[in-house]
């Protein structure tokens, strides 16, 4: 399974703090993730995470380019909207 964690407002949109997906092909890329969010989590969530201000981390490491996403079984993807600080 691949875990997806939603932070901040994205958790509200998703209606949950996290989801788990089975990677049937063994991996999830950015287009796969958008399709999963659109079809299995919440409408408009895929659109929201495409904003430039949303960052992506895999296993606690930020991705410089979301197009490089290549998540495997056991990985944790985090979707990070802009922070609001302390």
């Amino acid at each position: 399974m691949i875990k997806v964690v939603y932070l901040g407002q994205l958790a509200d949109m998703a209606g949950t703090a996290e989801s788990e997906f089975a990677a049937t092909s063994g991996a999830i890329d950015w287009a796969d993730l958008l399709a999963l969010l659109e079809n299995h989590v919440a409408p408009h969530l895929a659109e929201a995470v495409q904003a430039d201000t949303v960052k992506l981390a895999v296993n606690g490491r930020l991705l410089a380019d979301r197009a490089m996403l290549d998540a495997r079984d056991g990985d944790e993807i985090a979707l990070l909207p802009p922070v609001s600080g302390g």
Partner: protein, 147 residues
């Protein structure tokens, strides 16, 4: 000496600052900042969400940058996460140094970065429900001062 922590429970800034000051009685200068949930404005509660794999490492990185930038004998950064009530402390930062401006500037630097560059998401509970908070534009301007 660097002490960077997250806490899910309440804490006493005075106690933390007292311990820090005793540990640095050989430093000429100690500066501190305490941020508290401001009462009023209809805010019933404040909730800070963090993402464990990023938040504490990010705070450590900010602290390391402050230590690289200023000549410090010690640095404390303690940040609360979870739900807290008006009047409760959110964050305390303290810096000890030989010279006062290093200590004061380190605290200023830490707070600007914790406010706008650390992995916290904040929402306020009001009578009509929860509202997510975005950084104010002044926060971005404050951060840009250090570039």
């Amino acid at each position: 000496m660097r002490d960077v922590r997250l806490t899910e429970t309440g804490f006493s800034p005075a106690d933390e600052l007292g311990v820090f000051a005793r540990a640095h009685d050989a430093s000429g200068a100690i500066a501190s900042f305490t941020g508290q949930v401001r009462p009023g404005g209809g805010v019933l509660a404040l909730e800070l969400t963090h993402y464990a794999p990023l938040t504490l490492p990010g705070m450590e990185k900010i602290a390391q940058e402050a230590q690289n930038r200023f000549t410090l004998a010690g640095l404390l950064a303690l940040h609360r996460v979870g739900k807290m009530l008006p009047g409760e402390p959110i964050v305390v930062v303290a810096a000890a140094a030989a010279h006062r401006r290093d200590a004061i500037q380190a605290v200023d630097f830490m707070m600007d970065h914790l406010k706008s560059a650390a992995w916290f998401w904040k929402r306020e509970q009001r009578n009509d429900g929860w509202h997510w908070i975005s950084p104010r534009s002044v926060d971005h301007a404050d951060l840009a001062r250090w570039n």
